[in-house]
Symmetry: C2
Subunit: 414 residues, 2 copies
Amino acid sequence: MNAEIIAVGSELLTPYRQDSNSLFLTEKLNQLGVEVAFKTIVGDRRAHIEGAVKLALERADLAICIGGLGPTEDDLTRESAAAALGRGLRRDPALSGELYARFARRRLKMPENNLRQADVIEGAEVLPNANGTAPGLWLECGSAEARQVVVLLPGPPNELMPMFEDHCMERLRALVPPLFIATRVLKVALVPESQLDAQAAPIYSKAKKVETTILAAQGEVQLHLRARADSQAVAEKLVEDLADKLEDELEDAVYSRTGESLEQIAGYYLQMRGATIAVAESCTGGLVAERLTRVSGSSRYFRGGVVAYADDLKSAFLDVPQKILDAHGAVSREVAVALAEGIRKRAGSTLGVGITGIAGPTGGSSEKPVGLVFHALADGRKTEVLERTFPGDRDKVRWQASQQALDMVRRKLM
Amino acid sequence: MNAEIIAVGSELLTPYRQDSNSLFLTEKLNQLGVEVAFKTIVGDRRAHIEGAVKLALERADLAICIGGLGPTEDDLTRESAAAALGRGLRRDPALSGELYARFARRRLKMPENNLRQADVIEGAEVLPNANGTAPGLWLECGSAEARQVVVLLPGPPNELMPMFEDHCMERLRALVPPLFIATRVLKVALVPESQLDAQAAPIYSKAKKVETTILAAQGEVQLHLRARADSQAVAEKLVEDLADKLEDELEDAVYSRTGESLEQIAGYYLQMRGATIAVAESCTGGLVAERLTRVSGSSRYFRGGVVAYADDLKSAFLDVPQKILDAHGAVSREVAVALAEGIRKRAGSTLGVGITGIAGPTGGSSEKPVGLVFHALADGRKTEVLERTFPGDRDKVRWQASQQALDMVRRKLM
């Protein structure tokens, strides 16, 4: 079975908004073994929506329309899909009653327009909306041998997602041959994509039954593994075996297998070791602290941080000796070490991180170019330092520096 | 003239990747007065690409295909578009020569496959690629009265963007009636969309010649104004007049008119007033410092910050008295004030910001629910405090708290 996703809404044809529901739907459909073959985006125009649904029924088995089910004049998906299918609309008394009741509960008079949400295409099943007023619709057409399905879903993600999971997944599962899918995502920080692929390709290319996709994200590379089989156990074993082989080859470069972020992994290790951490940042401006504290429960291991942007605050808050700043400059191996050791001592943490560098776009020199960052990790015995020169703009340099610092913490504790 | 954008690439039909080039192209096309009527996403399959181009020529004046122009077997856009148009491909000797020369300069032997990039559809003009090997193609078809255009562009944004700006904009301008467009984006932090619209709608709905779109983003609402006219001056006056009226009505709620972020605006005011700032954060975990330092040149006014996550560090780094922590709890008006005053004094800055709250999802109580945040701003004379209870998850609460703190700084200095 293959699918076409039709996102409806004039705002999706502006420079400001993009359909993102299709990513969620694609993930769910792929889990069922359904491929998405086409995506179409049309505005709130009846002829365009009707044409898109007709076309989808010519080239796909499943057409999912997103949006245009609300109460306003711009919401045209119901009537357009009905026209494409050559079916009529009837007002559903139960749905009308629910709408009246919903407004009555809030002591509001319902504008007449709202009743359009009670219109149901002939032969359609109503999909309840747990988080809004517009119900979805499920329609089957075609013959028993060539069954086709049209689904209409509301646009807001908090309405669409539960509706699809609760009311469409089971219906679709009944229509497609049973198939079980297992996935893993191996994440590697700060290794260039080409280098990782050179190491990984000889391994994954031998695993014929697992589909492998390499994606480069900011400051990391992800290996997406996916296997399909007749049972979940077989699918899991396929991806697990390949993930094991890849981890053997890539050694400790792989920081996560099941989607965790680097700050989550660093947090796991800190908690597992009963360790605490504090960070002293200059060029990253608080990004490492911000990432560590994105994780709920991080107060168990994160004590705090100092963003010592001005040089005198490096001394005042972190005891970086003025003579080190004078002798080596703020962006130096020595200052990174002093920052890491200073924050560790002042915050009373097991580990201290120090970061200093030149995020750019200005402030670089031939000796200390934009992108140069020193990362230090102190544990009270010895302090490691890593010097890196990152490519890219200010945002990218800062992000990669935060990746490097979090990866040092991970490697220290693993 | 209306357009269809066709993004080609099987990766765009996975849950992991999304076409974003179409947002850039839509913005540029809108500037010319060209509306995007359809967007289609197809995989790397010849029949699908060919069908999409044929369909686009049935329903649009301009078809822009993105991607699939590279050297690999998966790159099928050239031959598919040629088939859709019923035209042949010929190998261009000048382009072949350039490809050989490019590889020779790097002392590499060119794989034969690369020559596919020298294939040109009959009647097409070649669009040079300043940042890659795959040239674009420009084709005109149809009659003089009903001119249609097909453009093939490479997928990487750093190749597509300059190619479109340098080689397509002028060609398109020659085909569409002259039209000048002016835009403004009024940004307002932390006002609910419905409240803003209630205030703004009576004003913008009277300005018939300006198209107004309201978009709610994280912790802010944006009013996008756009006017078209026969001259740039007239278009600019239309949006400027409406922006003035809206600002009068919304008073100091509008923080930016021309796209700046809230941290940029806070930075402008700090620099303009010759003021400096330092921040003491608890629940935001460094986000306010991180946002302030995203701005290049922020070292001129940002002195530094402390992320005092553990309570004892609130005392150690910021002199928050233990008895205040004991009496009121870490999440309290009093502690926010002490944080703001403490960081201001310790960092020697003009202004000090203090933030403490409950980002969730755990840690809330009936008295102090998840989402409760106290924001304080100290200037050495008096310290303002704002208490807010933000909706949403951990990320959203933290983001809104950072918006609130930056907006307090802006309002203080404006």
